[in-house]
Amino acid sequence: MPKTIPAPRKITTQPRFTDKVFRGVVTSGGLFAGLLLGLIGFFLVFNGFEAMRAAGLSFITGFDWVDAVPEDGQPASYGIGAMLYGTMVTGILAMIMGVPVAVGTALFLSYYAPEWIKKPMVVVVDVMAAIPSIVFGLWGYFVLMPHAEYWAKLIHKYFGFIPFFDMPAPVFTRSPFIAGLVLAIMIIPIVTAVSREVFAQTPLERIQAAYALGATKWTMIKAVVFPYGRGGVIGGAMLGLGRALGETVAVYTVLNLVYDIRIEVLLSAGGNVASMIVNKFGEADPVELQALMGAGFVLFLVTLGVNFLANFIINKTARE
C-alpha cells in the first residue's frame, strides 16, 4: 500500500490589534521612503526626458554645453560627458586621499588610542560630518587653496613626467586636485565611522589567537582585522564616494568648471555634474532647464548605484 504523503500545511498566525497598528505605521513609513525616491526619479525623468531624447547618447558622451542661438541658426547642444568625467575624477581623487587617512584614523581609534582620547575624538570625527558643505567650500577656497597650490606645484615639479601631473598652463588654483582634497576631507567622517564600526566587530577570539601566537599589534591587524574588515572598509569608501560624487556647493566654490575632458588634475579646469547644475540653473531657459533635469537624473542614477553597491558590500561582509 503506497504511503500517502500529506501536502505541507499552511502555517499562519493571528496578530493582535496593537501589533496590526504598529505594523501599519512602520510599513507606511518604509513605503513612503521608497515612494519618495521613486517620485524624485520620476520627476527628473519626466522633466528631463525631452532634452535627453533630443540629444540621444551624446547627452552622456558629448561635452559641449551650448545654448541655441536662433539668429545664427545654431541648435542647442547639451552633453554632460565632461562634467560626468570631472565628477569621477574628483570623486576618485577624494577616495585616494581620504580613504587611507580615514582607515588610519579608524585603526587608531579602535586599537591604539587610549580611552580618554578615543571618546572625544569619536565625537569630533562625527561632528565633522555635520559641518555644512558651504563651510568646507569657503574654508577650502580661502585657507586650503593657497597651501594646496604650493603642494600642487611641488607635485608637478617632481612628478610632472607623469601625464596626470603635467601642466600645460601655470594655473594651479581651482583644480580637480584641490576639489578632490576638499572632498577627501568631507568624506573622512563617514569612511572613518563605517571602518571603525567594522573594526570593532572583529571577533575577539581571532584577535586573541593572533596575540597568543606572538603577534605584534601591527601583524595582528594585518592578519586578522584587515581581512575581517575589508568588505566594510570598501563599503564605507563607496558611501564616501557617493557623497563626493553628489557634492555640489563645496566643489562649485573651489573648482573652475571647464567643459572639456583633461587628464591633468593639477590644472585649473575640471567639472562636476552637481556644480554645473547649480552654475547654470539660475539663468537657464526652459529647454536648458530640461537638459539640467536630465543631468540631475544621470547623477541621481550614478550616486544611487554607488550607494546600493556600498550597502550590498557592507551587508555581504556583515553576514560572513
Binding site: Q208, A209, Y211, A212, L213
Partner: protein
C-alpha cells in the same frame, strides 16, 4: 627551530611505569576510552605518567603568589604552582573559580581585559615574564595557547594557518614545508589534511579545527602549551584524538590544561590542581599528583568535587 628530542623522557616514563608495556604507553588506546566505566582513581592510576622527571630548578614555568583582579573584583588569591617540562598539569574546579583567568596570567593574555590587574610573579626559565622591559610577544611565543572554541583564521588556508605564527611574530625560516608537516603530524592531523592544505581552515570539522589550532601553536615551538578547555566544544571521538595528541606532545613540552571533565583530567594529566571560589577570590585548594588527587585527596572539598558531590 628544532624540537627537543623526546626519546630521553620516553625512556624515563617506561622505567617508571614498569607494568605498562611500551606499546600501551605510546598507543594508549586501552587507557583512554572516554566511555570506560572505571573509577577515576583507576583511570588516573593507569595513566603513564611523567612523574619520574624531577623538575630541573630554573626550568619550565612557575607561578608564584598570583593574585588577579578585574576592577575591584578580586578573582584569584595567592596561587603558586610549578609546571615542569615534560609534564601535563590539569586545572579543575567549578565554573567561575578562576581557572581560565589563572592560565591567562601565565602567557600575559590576562592584561587584554580592560581593568585587569595582577600581583605575583610568573617565572619562565627563572625569569619573571611581567618584568618591566620584557617583550611580551616573545613570552607568548614560548608559552602557546589553545582556546576553548576552535579559532582558526578563516581568511587563511590550512597551510597558512599552521604557519601563521611565523608571519605574526615575523620569524623567517628556510623550510616551511617541513615544519608544516611536522606540526600537523604532531597534532595528529596530517593524514586527514595532507591533500587539502590549500583549502580554508573553516572547511574542517570542529575537532579537526581544534587540532589545526594545536598545530598552529606548535609551529612557533613553544616550551609550554596552555589549553583552556580545548575539548569542551567537541564530540567524544575528537576529544579522544586531542587527548592522544596531548599525551604525545607532553614528552617535549609542559602542558597546562583546564578541564571540566574529571575523566579527562584523570586520563591525561600527571599533576592536578583544584581551584575553588567560595564567593570570594578563587584559591588553589589542593595541588598534587593526579593519582593522589583522585585516590587520596587531603582536602574534604577536593574529594567532594572529584567524586561529583558538588560543582
Amino acid at each position: 627551530m628544532s624540537n627537543e628530542n623526546p626519546t630521553e623522557s620516553k625512556g624515563n616514563r617506561e622505567e617508571e611505569m614498569s607494568q605498562v608495556t611500551p606499546k600501551q604507553a605510546s598507543g594508549s588506546k586501552t587507557t583512554s576510552s572516554p566511555g570506560a566505566t572505571r573509577s577515576l582513581s583507576e583511570v588516573a592510576a593507569a595513566r603513564t605518567t611523567n612523574l619520574g622527571k624531577a623538575p630541573q630548578p630554573g626550568s619550565g614555568l612557575e607561578a608564584r603568589g598570583i593574585h588577579a583582579w578585574f576592577g575591584k573584583n578580586h578573582v584569584l588569591e595567592d596561587i603558586s604552582m610549578e609546571f615542569a617540562t615534560g609534564t601535563v598539569t590539569a586545572l579543575i574546579g567549578p565554573s567561575g573559580c578562576g581557572k581560565s583567568t589563572f592560565i591567562r596570567t601565565l602567557n600575559r593574555m590576562h592584561e587584554f581585559i580592560p581593568t585587569a590587574a595582577l600581583a605575583g610573579q610568573v617565572l619562565l626559565d627563572g625569569k619573571d615574564v611581567y618584568e618591566p622591559g620584557v617583550d611580551v610577544t616573545k613570552i607568548r611565543l614560548q608559552v602557546g595557547m589553545v582556546f576553548q572554541k576552535p579559532n582558526p583564521f578563516p581568511s587563511m588556508t590550512i597551510r597558512e594557518n599552521v604557519l601563521s605564527g611565523l608571519k605574526l611574530s615575523q620569524i623567517k625560516i628556510s623550510n616551511p614545508d617541513e615544519l608544516l608537516e611536522s606540526c600537523l603530524r604532531r597534532a595528529g592531523l596530517w593524514n586527514e589534511v595532507k591533500d587539502r592544505l590549500d583549502e580554508y581552515g573553516g572547511s574542517l570539522s570542529g575537532g579537526q579545527q581544534q587540532r589545526l589550532c594545536i598545530a598552529r601553536s606548535l609551529a612557533v615551538n613553544p616550551q609550554v602549551l596552555l589549553m583552556d578547555e580545548p575539548c569542551s566544544a567537541l564530540d567524544p571521538g575528537s576529544t579522544l584524538r586531542i587527548e592522544e595528541t596531548i599525551r604525545e606532545l607532553s614528552d617535549s613540552m609542559s602542558i597546562v590544561i583546564v578541564t571540566h571533565n574529571m575523566q579527562q583530567a584523570a586520563r591525561v594529566s600527571d599533576y592536578t590542581g583544584f581551584l575553588l571560589s567560595d564567593g570570594g577570590p578563587g584559591r588553589l585548594i589542593e595541588s598534587s599528583t593526579t593519582v593522589e588527587i583522585f585516590t587520596n585527596p587531603k582536602e574534604k572539598r577536593t574529594e567532594d568535587y572529584v567524586s561529583g558531590r558538588f560543582g
